[in-house]
Amino acid sequence: MIDSALERRGVLRIRSLSLRLALLVLLAVPAFNRNILDTLLPTSLIHQLPLPLLSVLAFVAYSIVVYAIVVWTFGIKGLTQMLALAVVLGLTVVISMAAISKAPILGDWLQGSKTLAQVDAKAVEQFFAMLVVIPLGLLIIHSFPPAELICRLRSPTGTISEHAIRVAIVLRIYSMVADAISSFYAAWSEENPKVFLPRHRKDIGGTDKLWKLPMWFFGAAATWGLALVTYCIEQIPQLVTQLDVTLDHKLKGHNNACNK
């Protein structure tokens, strides 16, 4: 049944969920373990010339392994999209850290006992780390599609526990955000053809831009956040009822497990 429901590529070909999880955890250990990452990417990297060759080679080799698994699973297009996101987020972090570290009060807080050069080195390290961590994180998320997990709940062998159904609902709500973004994006881009600027901005001019546009931007982010949360909340009762009708003949114990 699951084969018919999902096209399997890369890590998705590993049928056993626990084996798949174990492999991904193993792959993620270097990226998410502070000690290992510091060894691969020492904070003082940019002050050590020539660079410690072994560290650099190890980091490059590790990145290649991660990228190869991403390409295996999601193709070159998937990797490109993930890297684009990683570069944007990475640059945002680096530029923000650089700007904040030079600011009067925030800079002191960020620096702590470090020198300015150490803070800069840290920012560069984080940039390179993000180039690997973000594709890896997305690989892990996409390796457990909610639909597949829900399909497995309806395995012809065995019954389903209430906890499993709760997990399925939580996962489906999570994936529902993607559906909602698409529908809200169409409405938003009609309302604001330049997505990051309000369509109607007659009252914004000159130095006003400096505070009115950021104000609008935060207001827009709040509007989106509230709309997405509300959308998901609205769907829950219906989704629960649907799963109840769909899966109830498999439920262990009583037949109202989904409801509460």
């Binding site: 018919s4 996409h142 809200f184 609008w216 769909t246 109202n256």
Partner: protein, 431 residues
Amino acid sequence: MSAAEELRFPSIELLVQALDLRFGRSTPLPQYGSATSVRAFGDWLFAPARESSQSQRAIVVPPDPTAFLSFPTLRQEFDLARSPTDPRYQALSLEQIGAKFEFEPRQLDQPVYSLSGGERTRAAIAKASLLLHRAESVAFCMPTHWLHLDSYSHLHELFRLADNSCKPVTLYLLDGDELVERIELPAKAVTPMPGRQVSWFLGGPNYEVQLLNNTEPSSKDHLLRFDVSSLRNVELRSPTILTGKNGAGKSLLAKCLSGVVRTSQPITPKSKYGQGPSRLVLQDALSHLFRRPIAQHPARVFEFDQEGKKKVDTIFSALSQESRKRLWTSMPDDAHLVGPEAEPHTLFQAKLVLIAERLVYAPPLLILDEPSWGLSLRQSDALIEAVVNYCHERDIPIAMITHLRPRLTHYANSTIHVQRDGDSITAKILS
């Protein structure tokens, strides 16, 4: 049809109330705003657990069929809904089940949100048919508001199956909804401004649209080709009706004209107000509100344009009054169907405020995607007449998309028929 009990309501708000009372479901309408949705969710969450009652075992397809589809793709939807013990579908593959409901194999793997409203309704009918085996009753809301006339047979088949299994079916309809393949409405002409003609033209060459077909990173994009050559430099008279089957590409064409979907070549309408992207009210009009109450919409959109905000309030008020007057003229008791002036909260008012916002700065073309969705026939007539009247007085051309052509035919001064053949979409003028 005899198998289904029909319940009719003068507005969607009353229909939803009745649905909630009957089934204890919580379906707050989005135009009520986030607070109402969160409260309704709380009520549902903390309500005493219901035992397996009729309400739990009923298949309820709500006014928005998307809410009935729980999974990202139709393949998963059908796979999970199909019962291994149901003899009708046991031997069929998912592709065969899809084909039974007019779905091509590729559509089974498309994300549900990328399907048109009519296709989602067909998917809801398919899912209801698959679940029928396990359910005790079926309730279907407003199917005609999404479904093309040619697809009504699927609905009739569902009713027949339910009837054979002695499972009651209730249809929740709005006044004026007819579930027959051919609707004969009295010929009626809208002559808001006698002798006044408003026209528009469509510029630009044929174009291509690159559609993101899936959210999965590994998915392939989809290229559609639009052929609009027969419309080029032809005078299109307002109101123009864009019609075609479910999934033909009507809404996509409107999104291309409005710049919501980027095209390989710019394609923009031209009228008295110049050439540029049209303004569009989407079929899923309520997504424009971003779950904010109706009254807050102008303040949000015109946060940095106080003059525009004043204008939108004036236009909203004028359109409301005109609609109320038209409803009162046809039937005095119906005037309240617009909604309360003090605290607007109806779907009718949501549509009016969105239209008013788009008319503040006269666009080259105003497009309403399925303006009669969620409105009874009298409400829909009042809204369309009020808006067409207002637009024509100001020489703003208007185009309306509908899958239910007979309902809007009497408004059409020009009709564009949109047809899809594989990856090619053709728009032609109907004489």
